[in-house]
Assembly symmetry: C2
């Protein structure tokens, strides 16, 4: 349901009318820019449906903050959602505007939204040209079969599957091909995971750190929730959660431990139909019923841990010590939930 | 130099003559198979040069074995090399054989080599069709500007940048488009990283584990070598090594610690020209001069550690506890070298 999809805005939500909304397409390799109405996008281009997960770069930041203090909104593991999107392919629109798919000068495709701050500075981001020309990238006008909700970018947004949420610009007004990335604050001065030797208060070396595009492999336990208490005579517990990775790398395995990582069991995976393991844009939901270890009853509690492996055999790190960064981005260490026994 | 490139064969090295060697191309979507001589490949198709790293799935297996016993050849960190390859694009050859680049039935492209075991069972492997149609995948006939050396596949081999070495079939005799993976032992019954709950002696659940294709992010220290001894009055030490990741994900950062991972410094990166960070097929060489910590002199030794981050912000795990697998494949934990102070 659309109202359960997580919301992450950077500025006030614009109030737009699709009948009066136009999308401008221009830039490098385009002789004459074009303006498209929402109806043009719906009627002049093949409609495509794709199920794709969007994750905020700050998902699970609170966990990284527990390891060592970071700066940002303290998201738990809920800054991620999955939906079916309908729209036209960005590549079809770019080609109709006159770009050559093999243009070697175009390196990035920039997006601008209608949302702006008090100085009229608009939200912007970009993705690499190769990705923009991939068939899964959409200019979306529907979410789960209905017009995009206002919070999720009505009337138009970018859906760039496998890429971090910050590049999937909402309330889309302008697309520009370019030799360079978007010059927006969010592309150039934020959403970059700094090296671990950069601490709070240090100058941030933005120019030497690439913008986040693809996301590393992630998973989290949703059931049981933190602070769950179970009775001493319970033998098994059902553990459920999500897993997802960037770049379309499908989840090939989710493992769960109930004894602090000594023993692991593979969970059952539930994946959207019609995807293959190299183009898996939707999250994997997983489930496992696991035995509660004897020791847990003595200790009065136990810790559940999950970790996922993606198609590139990337795995999640055990803790934040190798990935800590001052803005708390891309936290994907093993997820842990402590359960109390009474 | 070609004789420094690491060698990994599965069976005796064939002795072939390029004047008598033919490559057969057939399979799904090809009406009439074709046979190409080495001269056909050199003269009828555009020659392409690409610098690409090949890494054995067992590289650094000895390190994983130290964590917990595994099975296989005990490679140190040397089962990886880098070279410039010349050949024609696999996609050009497939298209000339009549396949439709958008064929939805073809899922894999299978390769067969001339090397065989005593029962005439030939070496074989496959890669996904999408990858096979990517412009970087070559049927190579030259290495560093000279004909392929016999050990490296003379007269023809597959170069599939970003993919594990085992799929880059040498002494290539046959290419076959198919709806399924190669049925060879090495595709179906080996080169799969098992879940960590599978131990030595357990039955191996080959069917539920995908074949390794892309490699996770890797790095290792080459200088100083293990067992290096330095004198007590040395203040700094130069650390050098390699880093590489699968899928063309460029190395964006290599960090080095001389105090067991408490403090890290970023190394200088040296990368082949003409690559971008989403299509980086060659390894990154790196170098850092780092101060020897005071404590090291008290202890009589210290440990250097390196770890790399790739363009998808994947990082190496701290140790093998989350990636251990019974065959010791894809070991990419932080690499450590102990240095003695006298």
């Amino acid at each position: 349901p659309n109202d359960l999809f997580f919301v992450r805005n950077h500025m006030p939500v614009p109030n737009l009318d699709e009948r009066k909304h136009f999308l401008e397409v221009n830039g490098l390799g385009i002789k004459r820019g074009i303006n498209l109405s929402v109806n043009d996008l719906k009627n002049k281009f093949e409609p495509v449906k794709i199920t794709s997960t969007i994750q905020c770069a700050g998902n699970r930041r609170n966990d990284m903050n527990k390891f060592k203090k970071v700066q940002g909104l303290m998201w738990t593991g809920t800054a991620i959602s999955n939906a079916e999107w309908t729209g036209c392919r960005l590549r079809d629109v770019l080609i109709s505007a006159g770009i050559n798919p093999n243009d070697k000068e175009i390196k990035h495709v920039q997006f601008e939204g209608a949302d702006m701050d008090m100085t009229a500075n608009k939200y912007g981001a970009s993705i690499p040209f190769d990705k923009a020309m991939s068939p899964e990238v959409l200019i979306a006008y529907e979410m789960n079969g209905e017009p995009l909700p206002r919070d999720h970018g009505y009337p138009l947004r970018i859906i760039a599957p496998g890429i971090v949420g910050a590049r999937q610009v909402k309330w889309l007004t302008c697309i520009k091909t370019s030799e360079e990335e978007s010059t927006s604050h969010w592309q150039r001065k934020d959403y970059k995971a700094m090296p671990s030797n950069i601490n709070i208060g240090d100058p941030l070396p933005f120019d030497s750190v690439p913008s986040i595009q693809e996301y590393p492999v992630q998973s989290a336990i949703c059931v049981p929730t933190p602070n769950t208490k179970i009775s001493r005579d319970t033998e098994n517990i059902v553990v459920e959660g999500y897993a997802w990775s960037g770049g379309g790398r499908g989840i090939i395995r989710v493992e769960v431990s109930a004894d602090g990582g000594e023993n692991w069991k593979c969970a059952e995976l539930e994946q959207a139909k019609g995807q293959d393991s190299e183009h898996m844009w939707a999250w994997t939901l997983w489930r496992l019923e696991i035995e509660i270890p004897e020791k847990a009853k003595e200790n009065g509690h136990f810790e559940l841990i999950c970790k996922a492996t993606d198609r590139g055999y990337n795995t999640q790190p055990e803790d934040a010590c190798g990935i800590w960064n001052v803005r708390g981005l891309l936290h994907n260490a093993w997820h842990r939930v402590d359960v109390t026994i009474f």
